[in-house]
């Protein structure tokens, strides 16, 4: 009996040891298996996201033509897929000066294909002489917009790029990009004809095309030289409109002296390093007769014609630099 018990007891420790070992092994195997599964799921999601990003990057939709047929109240959009992947447009936006509308649609574009799409907005009566913006949105989230009437570089009046690129800066020579406010004009409107004898603030769009942030300094100015037929004697007078604070609104009370330490203009580069696109355009305001002061300058009451240069002093990559850009020609209202 004792012998049997001894024999029987001998096996118990092995069984217990095995059970414990197997339990621990099972735990570890389960844990490792679970971890592999989780990593696999994450990798699959990550791969899918990379594919999505790549496809989004590869998508390139261009609207090459936009026309209006007012009889059927429709736009004719010529849309081309220049990218290497198929694209699907699922939303079209129509922007007027007073409203923004979106419409669901289905336009499938294979790589290289061109589609003539008739877009009939149900909420707007189209006017062929009006101004509209149309945006198409793809399912991958790319947006392409076009303005009606369409401005095609190299066609119509003038040609080439409607901008001046100097150093790390770009100034747009576009009707809407030069604006002014005055004592009687409190919201900015195009500044190609400005009122004589009224204090002014000029609003100029400037873009950073460099690869680093740029700070404008208080020496920057909008410089106007009067010109006349004959260009002689005292006619060639000059008016300085120095840079003012970004929060300036309209003269005289809304002109704030420029303080490059407290509230400077920072022009940021394109976050993706795309210098052609440039960074976000910044509206820079010029008004003060004296550097770093509030007194808004004005053109004489009798009016005149003016050649405009822009002098920009700035800090870029730790260095202070200045450039002088022949900009535009403007005149006063009534001449």
């Amino acid at each position: 009996m004792l012998k049997n018990s001894k024999k029987y007891n001998k096996g118990i420790s092995s069984v217990i040891g095995t059970v414990i070992f197997v339990s621990i092994l099972l735990l570890i195997v389960t844990l490792v298996g679970w971890m592999i599964n989780e990593f696999n799921t994450y990798n699959t999601a990550s791969q899918k996201r990379s594919e999505f990003d790549w496809e989004k990057e590869s998508e390139e939709i261009v609207i090459t033509k936009i026309e209006i047929d007012d009889e059927i109240n429709s736009f004719f959009l010529t849309i081309r897929n220049k990218g290497g992947v198929s694209a699907q447009i699922d939303t079209i936006w129509l922007l007027t000066s007073s409203m923004h509308y979106s419409y669901s649609t289905y336009i499938m574009l294979n790589p290289g294909s061109v589609v003539l799409y008739t877009f009939t907005p149900t909420d707007v009566t189209l006017d062929p002489t009006g101004n509209y913006s149309v945006k198409v949105v793809t399912t991958r989230g790319n947006i392409v917009s076009v303005h009606y009437p369409m401005i095609i570089p190299g066609e119509g009046v003038g040609s080439g790029e409607p901008s001046i690129n100097v150093g790390p800066l770009r100034l747009e020579i576009v009707y809407e990009q030069l604006k002014y406010t005055s004592e009687t004009q409190h919201s900015p409107i195009p500044g190609w004809k400005v009122p004589p004898g009224e204090r002014l603030i000029f609003w100029v769009k400037i873009t950073n095309t460099g690869n680093d942030v740029l700070k404008l300094l208080r020496q920057s100015l909008f410089y106007a030289i009067e010109y006349q037929s004959g260009m002689s004697g005292s006619a060639q007078k000059a008016w300085s409109f120095f840079i003012v604070d970004p929060d300036s609104t309209y003269p005289p009370g809304g002109v704030i002296a420029y303080n490059e330490i407290v509230n400077p203009y920072y022009l940021y580069p394109n976050p993706d390093g795309d210098w052609v696109a440039g960074g976000p355009p910044v509206t820079v305001k010029f008004s003060s007769q004296y550097m770093g002061q509030t007194g808004a300058n004005q053109f004489p009451a009798q009016g005149g014609y003016y050649l405009i240069s822009i002098g920009l002093y700035f800090e870029y990559q730790g260095d202070e630099m200045g450039i002088n850009i022949p900009f535009v020609a403007i005149r006063t209202i009534g001449l």
Binding site: W34, T41, W93, H100, R140
Partner: protein
């Protein structure tokens, strides 16, 4: 009688060792099981959250400067999961929106109105959208 006693002490010692081993091993086993299950649960959540964050993708389709204290931001969900927009920043400052949050389904689009920001026509503003999962998207829009 003597040989019988000898056997008892042996049995007692075996039983004692077995009980001691079990009393040590079982709690350790239970503790490690709990630990691993807790670890699995928390890491599972982290994995799941990261996967959801990765699957989230959205764009700002349009920003309409309607009137003073009314900037309407249209957001489109182009990702694989439903998103919840929880914050809108204008020029890096958090703003009050109506509604305060917005859930947007897959392939859907919806709007939020910023109700406490005045703006100047012609100025450029940076609009940032933040979702509940912590993804954000910034873009520049001209008023």
């Amino acid at each position: 009688m003597l040989s019988c006693r000898r056997g008892i002490s042996h049995i007692i010692s075996v039983v004692l060792v077995t009980v001691m081993t079990l009393s040590l091993a079982v709690p350790v086993l239970m503790w490690s099981t709990n630990l691993i299950s807790g670890y699995q649960s928390s890491y599972g959540n982290i994995f799941s959250r990261n996967i959801d964050k990765l699957q989230e993708s959205f764009i700002v389709e349009d920003v309409w400067f309607v009137a003073q204290n009314n900037i309407t931001v249209y957001v489109k969900n182009v990702g694989e999961v439903t998103i919840k927009v929880v914050n809108v920043y204008v020029d890096n400052t958090p703003r009050t929106t109506s509604p305060t949050t917005k859930i947007i389904n897959i392939n859907g689009h919806d709007k939020l109105c910023v109700t406490d920001k005045s703006w100047i026509s012609g100025e450029t503003y940076v609009i940032t959208i933040v979702t509940e999962r912590g993804n954000s998207l910034s873009s520049y829009w001209e008023a």
